[in-house]
Amino acid sequence: MNAALARGLGGGVLLLVLWEAVVRLAAIPPWILPPPSGIVATTWSARGPLLDAGAMTLFEAVTGYGIGAVLGLVLAMLLALATPVRKLVLPMVVVVNSVPVAAYAPLALLWFGTGALSKVVMVAFIVGFTVFLNALDGLLRVDPAAVALLRSFGAGPLGVLWRLRLPTALPAIMVGMRVSTVRSMIVAIVTEMLGSQKGLGWTIFEAVLQIDFLRVWAAILVASLISLGCFAAVSALERRVVFWR
């Protein structure tokens, strides 16, 4: 384990050193590829506005994530109980889901304006879909013999859902939630780039217009750090909730 950790860190350091060396030796202009040291320096000197923008994006992502995760989970539980409705609805859900979320972003902007609401709606939409599909898959993938056993002891559909389906589905639900974390940041940033007055996506858009590519890289760095933090938090939660894995 420790050897793996050392190699992982070594790989990261090696990449950074290589990047820095190539940029310096080949004298690559910073607008094509700035050195890591330059990106860190720019991030530090612009930390005030970057943190403000990051806080805005994080707020949109977390709010949308919470709403989407709850909605996705509740819908999955409802459809797990109602088999006829599920057979009708599920194929249509798959069709709607086959369009990449990014394509809906202009629509959300037109409907909900360029404020935070359109971003929250978009994030809730993508997170809701991911959690819904994962949760439904988990809820339905139970041993029929276990269902029959619970039934024979007098459990109703709700009892089966609560005592059997939900615990069985937990790993799948947590996978959906973990995958969603990174996507929620990406979707918030994409929607911000298309139309907003605040946030990291807006920072990136503005920096591109001003041909300030160091600031683009700095914003990407901040966004990546936030994503990584959210990812680590949800992964830790996953280990807690699905302790038997």
Partner: protein, 246 residues
Amino acid sequence: MALLRLVLPLLLLAALWEGAVALLQISPFYLPPLRQVLGAIWALGPAYAQAFMVTLGEAVAGFVVGGLVGVVSATAFHHQRWLRDMLFPLFVASQTVPVIAFGAIVVLWFGNTLLAKAAIAFYLTFFPVTVNALAGFEAVDPRQVALLRSFGASRRDIWWKLLLPSALPRIFTALRLSAGLALAGAIVGEWFGASIGVGAMLLAALFNEQVVAMWAAILTAAAVGGAIFGVVALVEARLVFWRDEL
């Protein structure tokens, strides 16, 4: 029968769309009637066909390279433990980078070409394939490998005849996910100055606040996604013919 299962949800969705607009009197600002959207596509048929082809090409280019790189790096990680320890964390970290933010930089590097969009599509596709292929390789029973080896099979034989077929179902699961991601990458890549393609159409519709054109572009995106998805499913049915027995 299979065709029916494909067409039925589409028809149902179309009926629901038209019915809801008529019955609930939804404002065309939110949801124009479906026939109006289809009419818009019909009226500008060649333009939509061109956007379809361009975006399809970008997404498929990134998707195919991403799939290949995914399988190759999974093979390397499977055989060389140290390589896996060293690079896999970087692969994971790379996926927390909001790639879309890179769009502007990638376009700066490659210009406004097919390559720029394909590069973004590639970045989104290779990771799921790497993860699933690696999981597939690792799940192979070592006794089967030992058996093949005892019969004198070379590494290459073992890969072709045991490792790859065993991992194929999982690889295709990842490919189906990646198909959608590749399309998303191509569409967003077009937002940085491209003039043709589904993404460019979406952007133009947004700036002109044309809801009908926006829905027409969304339907075109769905058609591109459906086309890629359909081909992947067909290839999967041919290659993983034993899937239903799993």
